[in-house]
Symmetry: C2
Subunit: 576 residues, 2 copies
């Protein structure tokens, strides 16, 4: 029987609650957002006692379904002030699901200054003294927990920036290889730090399999689903070979690769950090070109990047991070970028926000353009140790812009804009502007249709069709974020007719209900509106659904494109 763990940090108790009937078929984002929307006062301070941090494995997490190993974390975001869902791979999602933990809701704050570790077992949560872990960065925390228990222990942890409640701090999750995946965006590490939780360990001893009501139906659907994943050129071929970084050359070709803090749309040195170069480098050095962020992943878009001696540098080295460092910060040396990526994992900073904010710091003159060594030092010694300049940077892109009085600050709702220029890939601009999460490419990944020609094609340079595209993808993504599936299932789902019904059938079989594709999309629509309503109650208005002014004022080469949607056109996203 699934249950909810309600952890109260004020009186250090854990109540094990029955799952309310209305939560029965929910999971992931649908569940975290529903709980946050119903239990967190929208106007509360994100770092105060009234915010709650909610973890929920997806609807299919822990099942044998391919690519289903993701966990959602939700709260009111200290970075954006909006509702926030951030999902991550790693081992904790499947452990939670197999232990029957539908959600863990963490509320309140300790009355004293003590730090805690939550230890999660089948029986509930215990509150362990974390004083010896405080002041450690993430890899040391994982080592300490592996040493205390064994390598099977699940770990979700924050680094020193999270302890210091910096708004770019993430929650790092141990992956199957003792490395790190992240609940990256929106500063949820700061929320965990505000509740004085240094880390959450999961001991799944005694956990069985995830209960599936109709095993037969599940097996049949899972097979169709997995075949679709393998058949599609993006998930079956592009991502497995080159990882997400396959996009560098593609975006450069399209003129949508933001370069030097969004000054240009193409970059001369794109080849030096492209997915092709990265693949060949890893292969030549004897690293791993394929790697999954959780057990059961059949895409394996991650990798293990190694140095010339074959020694591990980093994994989960994604396109957005490589773009942010290699192109937007002009750091041409891929090894430097990899070391910075690893540093961000270690100190617990969102690697998208971290890369975007460094480019703004470079524009401010804090770090020379392209200086990877200095960026690495700043990560470890300034942000990692929360010095004054480290606090300015560790609070995100908007914080850097404010501190230095800059106007070219690529944020929406104070969250850094990732890897795709909204002027020359206009669909993603609509997603950035309107997402309930602040600027977030995953919230409605129009790159699929604008650039990769998945689900049809809409010219990225024209306004036509972009609002409908973004709306549809935002709704669908909200649903997919609830399944525990990685976002890339959207590629086959958009192109291969059997895939989405198979996904929905697995959910139906899991819970013993009859869910249609319409029901599934309807859930996405309902949750997205719920998130929007939370934000409205938190003080957000349509005027917050806008890109920064400089995208309207500065045409970007090579297309000389500007951001030219009217407010009324943008607001049409909410017409559903």
């Amino acid at each position: 029987m699934d249950k909810i763990f309600r952890v109260n940090m004020t009186d250090l108790t854990c109540k094990v609650e029955q799952v309310p009937a209305e939560y029965k078929t929910l999971g992931g984002r649908a569940l975290t957002s529903t709980i946050v929307a119903s239990e967190v006062p929208p106007m509360c301070h994100p770092l105060g006692p009234n915010n709650k941090l909610v973890f929920a494995p997806g609807q299919l997490s822990g099942t044998p379904a391919a690519n289903s190993g993701r966990m959602s974390a939700g709260a009111k975001s200290p970075l954006t002030g909006t509702i926030k869902e951030s999902n991550s791979g790693g081992t904790s999602a499947q452990q939670f699901a197999k232990m029957g933990i539908k959600a863990m809701i963490i509320e309140g704050m300790p009355k004293d200054d003590k730090w805690y570790r939550l230890h999660v077992t089948m029986d509930g949560v215990t509150f362990e003294d974390a004083s010896e872990l405080v002041g450690k960065q993430n890899f040391d925390v994982i080592d300490a927990m592996n040493a205390k228990y064994d390598e099977k222990i699940g770990v979700m942890t924050i680094g020193i920036p999270g302890e210091n409640r910096l708004a770019a701090a993430n929650i790092s999750v141990k992956d199957p290889d003792q490395k790190i995946r992240s609940h990256g965006r929106g500063g949820l590490g700061a929320v965990m730090g505000s509740k004085k939780i240094k880390c959450i360990t999961t001991d799944a001893t005694g956990a069985g399999k995830v209960e599936i009501v109709d095993a037969e139906k599940f097996r049949a659907a899972a097979k169709v689903f997995a075949k679709g994943m393998l058949d599609h050129p993006v998930t079956g071929e592009g991502l497995p070979i080159y990882g997400t970084n396959v996009l560098i050359n593609i975006l450069n070709e399209a003129g949508g690769l933001p370069t030097k803090n969004f000054k240009y749309g193409q970059c001369d040195h794109h080849d030096k950090v492209s997915g092709e170069t990265m693949h060949d480098t890893i292969a030549a050095r004897g690293g791993k070109t394929k790697h999954g962020c959780h057990a059961g992943c059949i895409i394996q878009c991650s990798q293990e990047y190694v140095d010339e001696a074959g020694v591990y540098i980093t994994s989960g080295f994604e396109y957005e991070t490589v773009w942010g460092l290699g192109i937007n910060c002009m750091i041409e040396n891929l090894d430097d970028c990899a070391r910075i990526d690893n540093a961000m994992d270690n100190i617990g900073i969102d690697s998208i926000e971290g890369a975007v904010l460094i480019a703004v710091a470079m524009e401010a003159g804090v770090i020379p353009w392209g200086d990877g060594k200095e960026t690495l030092r700043v990560m470890n010694e300034e942000i990692g140790k929360c010095t004054p300049i480290g606090r300015i940077l560790g609070n995100g892109t908007g914080s850097v812009g404010t501190a230095f009085g800059l106007t070219r600050v690529p944020v929406v709702k104070n969250q850094g804009i990732p890897a795709y220029d909204p002027r020359s890939v206009k669909g993603i601009g609509i997603t950035y502007a309107t997402s309930t999460q602040g600027a977030d490419h995953t919230a409605g990944y129009t790159i699929a249709t604008n650039i990769l020609k998945v689900g049809g094609f809409i010219d990225p340079l024209t306004k036509e069709g972009q609002v409908d595209l973004s709306r549809n993808l935002q709704i669908a993504t909200t649903a997919v974020d609830s399944t525990g599936m990685c976002i890339f299932v959207a590629f086959p789902a958009l192109d291969i007719p059997e895939v989405l019904p198979a996904l929905v059938d697995m959910i139906s079989a899991r819970f013993g209900v009859e869910m249609s594709v319409d029901d599934f999309v309807g859930m996405g629509s309902k949750i997205l509106k719920m998130e929007k309503a939370f934000n409205t109650a938190a003080g957000f208005s349509n005027e917050d659904d806008r890109l920064p002014e400089f995208f309207e004022l500065e045409p970007v080469a090579p297309h000389n494109a500007v951001w030219d949607f009217t407010p009324a056109e943008i607001d049409e996203v909410w017409n559903f």
Copy 2:
């Protein structure tokens, strides 16, 4: 003939324009807000090329009317993101008025990195090289300009924080004694810095008297008005003797004196920094207990505070600053407070924001509680030189709270809450919450009626009547802020029936119109709504009209009062 100077910093031109008919009877806040609302896109970046900085002397500035020497500055605020009007004494207002400059509108930004000084004469504005002034603080700029011209030259200047576009930077204005008054609140110094204007000098050679259409009517009304000012106990007695700092003991008695970053409502050492102590100290040391911020002031609430040797330390040492440093930061040594006040004048930081943010920095552990010497060092060496920690602090109270992940951050719309606890003086809480300017006691000074029993009495601890009181005062203040009068004319205006009609008669006589008291109040109402509409178009919603959560969660001694207005009750302010 009055005219408008339109200064374009992009092409370095000044157009002298006729005053549009609809601006004829406007001045001060009514004029700056009207121009900002009609010319500045509400969604523009406050530090970008589309913001405008507008100076306008009041309707009566430069006339012989008592206490009429104030200038309004307006723009979109980089601190609050709202429309902003900040008015100041000093010599520039009367010079502008006598030169017939109804308003100076500064727009655009230089294309290069050069710094300019605007030199204002009867003929227009010239653009002087300011490279030798850059990097100087305010008193050095004034000295340099006095040396270049003579002591009659008008000077409005920004310090190094303004050059660096920090959001607590003010615009400093030379007063009749070569000291400084300030357009303090809302970071207008950063707007001036963004336009690369280091200072504005005014040479009023050739200026005559301000044109008054009906001199006879004006003289008669001015006499009645001045008599009212002298007859009222607050403006005729309390303020002239003790200055605004008379309020320390009064607010302490009322339990509304925010102490140690709003932790308590009373302070044991209040006597050490009270107005009475300050008066006696100045008198014993041979300083000046009375001093006007502009020629023609008959209240003389300012002073010249001197050290034990009789050497000048500071002037314009207001209650809010003494409170902020002496009580809220627990700096018991009044000489230390005076030196910090002078440092804020010199570096060009709003002395209210500056004091409120230091208390938050003390809560963060950056400065020990009560350490005046270290606070002085931080002002001069960190904020004054824009070091990393100086940037965190110099960007205001909200910036400090964000950098250190704090929840007890007294701001509304990111502007620091001044000197009166909104839990125990509830009327002022309504003003803080709803003012179009962010937290601002002068925007609707309910202390008059809640504490000083001017204009009747409304118990500060009950909710009843506070919304009506704040609304009425906000409307009236918007009108008074347009006259060029200092805000203290409100005291006699509230209690002595002849004073307000006399004020309005002076305006009628000045412009040759028939303005009634209803017309005058109607102007206030219209401008306030215009400001609110600007803010709404800039993305503000009712939910931005709220106090920080900690005022609801923490009762304040001695009354154990909490902030207990419902959202709907607060929003009633806008019901007019």
